[in-house]
């Protein structure tokens, strides 16, 4: 552990510089669009009409005030937050129970359950959307946030159940047994013992659920046609129509949207690496 590893970690200064240069280049590519977005949004009203590379010419919050006061943006934001939040809470709960059952109990058919869940990942929007639309219409769930949320569950839950299963696989089975010995039912073991130990996995799953609902466009376009029910992904398309576009509004709202996502992201990113692959890397 001692001398050898340290020797291995050492590099020539040239190699170090190369490594940092490579990473810096990658960081530049990954950051540039976001930085440019923020800079554009801070330009004055028609500042987006030029690609000149001047930074902070006349920085102004004009675009932001216009987005927040003169458009339907706050309404869309509320709709999106509600939908994504509900999807997250319910999605995590369903994914966790399923993941736990498949991870712990070798009941007949557990393999087919996972396989079934994977298959649903392959369903293209196109095949489900028309029947789903009719189903929603029949149930009176069109233009309703719960309706859209249910549609999102079909996208988010299967993958989340996979993630949760992978995570539960890394929690030693002895912990469950200890819970059982203490007289807890399987549900009790799951709820009081295993779930609290799985916070990182839950964080990742929650993040994934939230992002799925937050960024979805196809279902939202079709199911939420009513003006005041639109979510962000649908509403924003108005800012850049065929005949008229206002990138000032677009960039400012894009920044406002990226903030909640970024905050959630920062909260869970520490757990991302452990949570995402914990199970997959264990043989």
């Amino acid at each position: 552990m001692s001398a050898r590893t340290r020797r291995r970690g050492e590099r020539g200064p040239l190699a170090s510089a190369g490594l940092h240069a490579g990473l810096l280049l990658a960081v530049a590519v990954s950051l540039f669009p976001v930085v440019w977005l923020v800079l554009t949004s801070l330009k004055p009203r028609d500042g987006w009409l030029s690609a000149e590379l001047r930074l902070f010419d006349h920085p102004s919050l004009d675009n932001y005030t216009r987005v927040l006061t003169q458009t339907e943006f706050p309404r869309w934001l509320l709709n999106s937050v509600l939908t994504a939040g509900l999807t997250m809470v319910l999605g995590v709960f369903l994914a966790a129970t399923t993941g736990y059952a498949v991870s712990r109990f070798r009941f007949p058919g557990h393999r087919s359950v996972m396989w079934l869940l994977l298959i649903t990942q392959m369903f293209p929007v196109a095949i489900l959307i028309v029947p789903l639309y009719n189903l929603m219409a029949g149930l009176g769930l069109l233009n309703q946030i719960p309706g859209l949320m249910i549609a999102y569950m079909t996208i988010a839950v299967p993958f989340c159940a996979w993630m949760m299963k992978s995570y539960f696989d890394t929690v030693p089975i002895e912990i469950d047994q200890a819970g059982m010995v203490d007289g807890l039912t399987p549900f009790g073991t799951f709820w009081r013992v295993v779930l609290p130990l799985s916070r990182p996995g839950i964080a990742v799953t929650a993040f994934y659920c939230f992002m799925t609902a937050w960024g979805e466009v196809g279902y939202a376009t079709v199911f939420m046609s009513q003006e005041d029910k639109r979510t962000l992904g649908v509403g924003l398309q108005q800012f850049i129509g065929q005949h008229w576009s206002d990138w000032g509004l677009m960039t400012a709202s894009a920044v406002l949207i990226a903030i909640p996502a970024g905050v959630v992201f920062l909260l869970v990113q520490r757990h991302l690496i452990t949570g995402l692959t914990a199970g997959a890397t264990k043989s």
Binding site: R11, Q121, M122, A126, S283
Partner: protein
Amino acid sequence: MTVSTRKAAATGEVTRGRRARRRSAGAHWYAWAMVAPVLVVMLVLIGWPLARGVYLSLTDATEANIGRTIGVNVIPSTYEFVGLENYARILTSGLFWDKLLWTVIWTVVCVALHYGIGLGLAVMLNRRLRFRSVYRVLLILPWAVPAFVAAFIWRYLYNSDYGVINGFLKLAGLGGVGWLDDPTTAKIAVIAVNVWIGVPFMMVALLGGLQSIPAELYEAAEVDGASAWQRFRAITLPGLSQVSSTVVLLGTIWTFNMFPIIFLVTRGGPGSETEILVTYAFREAFTGIRDYSGSAAWGVIILAMLVVLAVGYRRTLRGEGGPW
């Protein structure tokens, strides 16, 4: 095999027999109760629409002849069962094969770049270096940007008049390019956007895989005089095979069905050049006279291709002792 719960297996020989069977039946009851909500939701929301979609694909349903209720008037459906006509029409049209070819190119190029760049960055980040966690957070950032926002950002960057990419080109004394106006550049443009969005996921997954490879293996290889490249080939790649197989399959499916990027960046244009199968089927269903049956048939064909792909993939992996 009733005595197959892990619990029973762990408690060992003693519990075999009838008692164990009763206990495992109890465990099965719990297990099914926990899986049930998801299965019910999936059956209602995926199973039923799927069955209905398959049925629609065998009819000539369009917006004009499907049953609906306007106020108190119930208009009955008048569409008819036409068998495999929709499929025959699609599979014999040049359009389908064009779209399929582009979809395959799109998927292969995107997944290859996702995986290649993701692996490169993961290997770099797995080294001991300063600012490692800073690099990591900054590199994962594109993942935190919702796909539709990313699509809009890039559309602005590509804009031929005031996009910053052309701004740079002009600065360098070159003429601007109408990125989204020409089929070839538009294709390159959407692939670039998708690569930008998809690399962080691969990077994070592969980094997790790298960290699970025991350091002793590398030490031993080094003692034996293996070069860096040999260590990469003989330890890193095999060590990553399980994670890789999972993420490549998922990545392939996601990219194949990647809807928002193309829908929002190019709107399928110019013409329908950048339209992949999924976006095309969506447009069939919801623009003009909505062609429900045609779009359902497209969907069934797409699904069938993916299932074949996944089953074949799973077979191959099983042969190699993969995770499933």
